[in-house]
Amino acid sequence: MEIDPFIFRLSIFILSIFIGYYVVWSVTPSLHTPLMSVTNAISSVIIVGAIIAALSKSSTSIFEISNIFGFIAIILAAVNIFGGFLVTQRMLQMYKKKKK
């Protein structure tokens, strides 16, 4: 009997939760704010879905209603990607060790 591909995706999902669990516990508490901003940035990989939605071919025009939702989602996700990574970078630059 063939295994449904859904089961593979579910396996990836559950294993990733475990990876996330161990990786996040090892994050030092002083970097919890950058952790939140960087998770914000990476969850905007949802832009992948937005690009597919925006570029989906249509017979009449490139601005069908489903494309428009895609385009708006691209803007929202792009704000997050650039904003999230850059603000994380800005914060991480500030963490310095004692000068001896």
């Binding site: 996040v24 002083s30 970097l31 704010t33 939140m36 960087v38 939605a53 990574f85 991480l92």
Partner: protein, 464 residues
């Protein structure tokens, strides 16, 4: 690009995201980790372009919108003051939530573009996944907007409660489940829109009863939700990068919520059901009796600290509000010149989001190896000459250890009272966010410095 090849690249970006989080285990590796995250994102976006393969006029628009959104994001990232990080993160969460909703809507309107079937005949599994993604995304969006408004001070931080609140939330929660079930059997777009609207409403109702001091939990929780929404969409799109990321972010937010709840010794449900701090205020105002406090000025404080051999600084949300972190650093520099050993003690729930104080101190050029977490430093108070409490309150209240009647009993607190003398910078004797009078004010070894945190610190610097 073949589907198999692109799936492989999505896996690569998923792994890069894992490494980005892994980097945060120490400040030295964190910057490199961030670059890996950026690389992962770039790979995902490029692979998506190649696999869609539609480089017509629509592609130009995609680039334009990408650049437009990116410039807005970059502008915000460079301009935002560090004290505004909590509301920035809340705002960013709302964008992820809304983007998830829009992608789900788009997939529902045009399933053939995503290979999910046809309008009115979407695959059952895909329909469940996209409606879950849309519902969680909508809750994340409206909940984060409320959190943003509360943190920004546009909306009062006081909990908003009304009778039957939990019952209504329960009813709406059941309505979401029922609507998803009904949507699957009917495929009706009206039901889909209705589901999205109800979810927006749930997000609002979920966050309004939660008070300002509980915001660290709320932000972490919304962080988690934004992850689960992304994972839901990831299942719909059958995209590995999105599934991995969603799971990572979801568990990250959940762990942070857990750490924050533990820092307050409260259960997650207790925080979520909300209304804390509203009924306690009555008790505290009744119990308020005129007890003597010792009142000091900047010269007294400067004298005490200059002659100390070790000083521990306890910053809290008040420091962020007064923007006192730079003045504080100047004070510490002056003390160090006098040969005083200075360290900083951070309570897990100090501030409005996890790690809030650490970022502010880092901004003021405080080296991170002088900053300690509660467990690391709590024993040192007994050997320390002066504890300088600036803008913190409830997290220093010894009542949490002594009075089982107190609402904060059992909450881990910093043992500030064990140091030889305590300098407590505060504007007035008013209770903290938990609405509880702080026993520390009336101790013999406490000297109250009634002033704005920044002004007082600057005055101390002058008299040093």
């Amino acid at each position: 690009m073949s589907a198999n090849l692109s799936a492989f690249f999505y896996l690569v970006s998923g792994i890069l995201f894992i490494l980005a989080l892994r980097g945060l285990s120490s400040p030295e590796t964190s910057r490199q980790g961030n670059y890996l995250g950026i690389a992962g994102m770039a790979i995902s976006i490029i692979v998506t372009f190649l696999s869609v393969g539609n480089f017509g006029p629509g592609f130009i628009y995609v680039i334009i919108f990408l650049v437009l959104g990116g410039s807005i994001g970059a502008f915000i990232a460079f301009r935002i003051p560090m004290t505004a990080m909590p509301e920035l993160v809340a705002g960013f969460h709302s964008l992820v939530g809304l983007a998830a909703v829009f992608v789900a809507v788009s997939a529902f309107l045009k399933p053939e573009a995503f290979g999910l079937g046809a309008v009115g005949n979407i695959k059952l599994a895909s329909l469940i996944e996209m409606s879950l993604g849309a519902a969680i995304g909508a809750i994340t969006f409206s909940g984060s907007i409320i959190a943003f408004l509360k943190l920004r001070g546009i909306m009062s931080g006081a909990p908003i409660t009304f009778t039957g609140q939990h019952f209504i939330n329960l009813l709406l929660g059941l309505a979401i489940v029922f609507l998803i079930y009904y949507l699957c059997s009917s495929q009706s777009s009206n039901i889909f829109w209705f589901l999205v609207i109800i979810s927006f409403l749930v997000g609002v109702l979920l966050i309004i009863p939660i008070g300002g001091a509980d915001m660290p939990v709320v932000i972490s929780m919304l962080n988690s939700y934004s992850g689960w929404a992304a994972a839901g969409i990831g299942f719909t799109l059958e995209n590995t990068a999105l599934i991995i990321t969603g799971a990572l972010v979801g568990s990250s937010g959940a762990i942070l919520s857990y750490i924050m709840c533990k820092g307050m010794n409260r259960s997650f449900f207790n925080v979520i059901l909300g209304g804390w701090g509203a009924n306690e205020q009555v008790v505290s105002s009744k119990a308020k009796e005129q007890k003597p406090v010792k009142n000091g000025n900047a010269d007294d404080a400067a004298f005490l600290m200059k002659n100390a051999s070790s000083v521990i600084i306890v910053p809290g949300y008040g420091m962020a509000v007064a923007q006192a972190q730079h003045a504080l650093r100047e004070m510490v520099d002056a003390l160090k010149k006098n040969g005083v050993k200075v360290s900083y003690a951070i309570h897990p729930v100090a501030g409005r989001m996890p790690g809030h104080m650490n970022v502010l101190l880092a901004e003021a050029n405080v080296p991170y190896d002088e900053v300690f977490e509660l467990e690391e430093i709590n024993n040192d108070f007994a050997n320390c000459d002066v504890a300088y409490v600036i803008g913190a309150n409830d997290v220093t209240n010894p009542v949490a250890k002594s009075d089982p009647q107190s609402p904060i009993f059992g909450m881990p607190v910093l043992d500030v009272e064990k140091s030889k003398s305590v300098l407590f910078v505060k504007r007035s004797l008013s209770p903290g966010y938990a609405g509880i009078d702080n026993d520390l004010f009336y101790r013999d070894n406490t000297l109250m410095l009634f002033a704005d945190a920044k002004k007082m610190t600057e005055e101390i610097v002058k008299s040093l």
